[in-house]
Symmetry: C2
Subunit: 477 residues, 2 copies
Amino acid sequence: MEIASMNNNDKNSSNIFTNGLLWFKSLYEKLFAKIIGIAKQFKKIGKDDPRRVIHSLKVGVALTLVSLFYYFQPLYNGFGVSTMWAIMTVVVVFEFSVGATLGKGLNRGMATLLAGALGVGAHYLASASGKVVEPILLALFVFLQAFATTFIRFFPQVKARYDYGMLIFILTFCLVSISGFRVDEIVDMAHKRLSTILIGASVCVIISIFVCPVWAGEDLHKLVANNMEKLGKFLEGFGDEIFKSAEVEESKDAKKSLIEYKSVLNSKNAEETLANFARWEPGHGQFKYRHPWRQYLKIGGLIRQCACRIDALNGYINSEIKAPEEIKEKIKETSKEMSIECGKALKELSNSVRKMNLPISADEHITNAKKSAKSLNSLLKTGINNWEEINLLQVIPLATIASILTDIVICVDEIGQGVNELATLAHFKKSNNKEITTKVVEKIELSNNNIIEGSRKVHDCSSHDVVITINESNMKL
Amino acid sequence: MEIASMNNNDKNSSNIFTNGLLWFKSLYEKLFAKIIGIAKQFKKIGKDDPRRVIHSLKVGVALTLVSLFYYFQPLYNGFGVSTMWAIMTVVVVFEFSVGATLGKGLNRGMATLLAGALGVGAHYLASASGKVVEPILLALFVFLQAFATTFIRFFPQVKARYDYGMLIFILTFCLVSISGFRVDEIVDMAHKRLSTILIGASVCVIISIFVCPVWAGEDLHKLVANNMEKLGKFLEGFGDEIFKSAEVEESKDAKKSLIEYKSVLNSKNAEETLANFARWEPGHGQFKYRHPWRQYLKIGGLIRQCACRIDALNGYINSEIKAPEEIKEKIKETSKEMSIECGKALKELSNSVRKMNLPISADEHITNAKKSAKSLNSLLKTGINNWEEINLLQVIPLATIASILTDIVICVDEIGQGVNELATLAHFKKSNNKEITTKVVEKIELSNNNIIEGSRKVHDCSSHDVVITINESNMKL
């Protein structure tokens, strides 16, 4: 009996041991998989936008620089504990883009200056009124100021640009006016705090502008151009997709590129944030100081409107169209042309925004799309003979597609007008039109150099004409 | 001559005086108008959401309470300059909604605790390595920590919920580890700072929960319900508007209520922010702790999809429809019914979400809308005889409207399913269905009380049946 029970005990303990080992192994494996997953995500986030890695490095450098104030005795003697404020400023002010950093830095600096001055004033006023009244008066000041400033933060204009400044205003006013109740050298304190904050903010601004800067304005510029391109891609692809027979297998990539437009629908917030930041930025690269950022928001709105129509159109991609072949063929051609011309126009507009060239050939594509819309209309009015045989129900999907496409042509026209306005406001340059020139050159490659020279001059003239007509069309807007 | 020149001088000086007066007057008037304008905006912002005034008052009270630490000697003796951190915490943590305040407070508390502990560790590690290596090691720690934490802030999951905590983590780690280089009682400092931050955060959380709380969850709940109602209003109004002759003057109010849906298109960001805050909130009122806030986002997405279709529909409101009267009449009735039934369904769904009752009659409206869509289809297939005489171009706008409306019926059906899922997840109650019961009661008002009692029982049973079918339909989803 004893041996059996001992055997049992042995078995049990070895079981427990094996179970424990297994549990430990599975835990280890889970943990390992988790770590691998996180590492992969790290890599992906860095790969998606390498500027993120650079930004993190920049923050590290800025903080290390500012913390030098603590280590070096002469610097520390100058500012003392106030050095803390420099570190705090760097941590809070250093943002991803130059505009955001500048906006926060200016907000913090101005608010500290203003609230510091008011705080000192409040402190003197209160201390002049006697030991008993002083705390009551100070508490009243703090309450009133906090109430008023918090309420002002709800103003939309203030919220968009000065929210952070308002927060710092409350903070500094409270700290300065209340600390004054204890610390006698209040002016000295306010002065030290302000200078350390200025040092911190300057470090942020300088590093963010001069070391691999990330410009919010440039991001906005690219975002709007990319959004136009996404819609253009969809429309070009749609022309091919919609009338394809259902049996043809589509490649996954093609489908993916068609769905890309969906991100455009929710781009409003990103655009507004970037535009707000961009307005703080100094001139950089192709963008002057007062670049018309608002116009991008206007174009963005038109693009979203167009994306909404496209979303309605997207519902028809996988629907089978049963209309008789004859009608299908006739409507197909013009619809396809409308869609493809709109797509080309959007791509051209996107390109012209990206390169800041005048959108010369886009107008042509829009005119073509409008012509197709007209010819579709007249086709529907007169061109088809055997209406008697048609089941209206079968024609409706086609008619709807044509109708939504007509709407899209109008949208694209409006986007074109918006881009033309932007081109005037931001003084877009004449395009070099290298591609067109190249074609001309190819044709007359065999001729002598003089002729090539001539063709270039002719081309320059014609593009100049286009500039004028575009400006005129803008005058009418 | 002399007299004349003197006269001239007199005239000149009196002219300058009058001009100066006029200038001063116009400046005064401009200033006055500006002040009036700002005052009006103050009033409007307060009137739009009176909770803003209450929130501002709450911030004032919280700050005044915390500043008491400075005024009362015994309290001040305990914490000293660290009291500053309590004020700072209140200013930065106190947000409009309970969820945002709680989220920030918890983030700040946890990040301070963690970073404080790590900072103390870093300090000891550095100081054990000798006077020369210490600053180098500390600088290295600061750099590595700032780099890693800043990069982690780019993770979408972290950005959504723990962004503020990450910021505070960098800040506290730097302050504690670097200050340790100077202040010897580093543990004492970290302890004081943590307790003042906890006091500040607690004051915020307590005031924000117990004094007129603003729940982000409730706001999200109402936002989604309101958005559904806006679409419902449009669709109900559309049924009347679209086939009205162009000459009938529309009231401005009616037009305004039709355009209300446009705000729905850009609601994604607000919904996501509110859902993020709501997840921090404890159970309150009708909402339990783990209320399915994600489901609201799903419904919100479906609502926006529907709003997109409605935006496409909106283009046809002012277009003149020239189709022959006979066809117009026939299509009109069914289209109108589809639109109105969809509108009613959305309004009913909105109501059921708002009151957290099961959406009983919405299913009925959706079924009706589907029936209308079907009958419209068969009408188009067979019902109209004289196709030969029809100009297809004239029918297209009608056909497009019908086609988009069919899409909308599908969208509304999906929204209905989403709300049903929500009803199951959040355990919506059986509706009292007072209105229906009232009608039944009215009909049998003349009978005796027993019969009324009976009708109520019957009604209760039937609504119970509906509960079961809804649950079953959810099982299939």
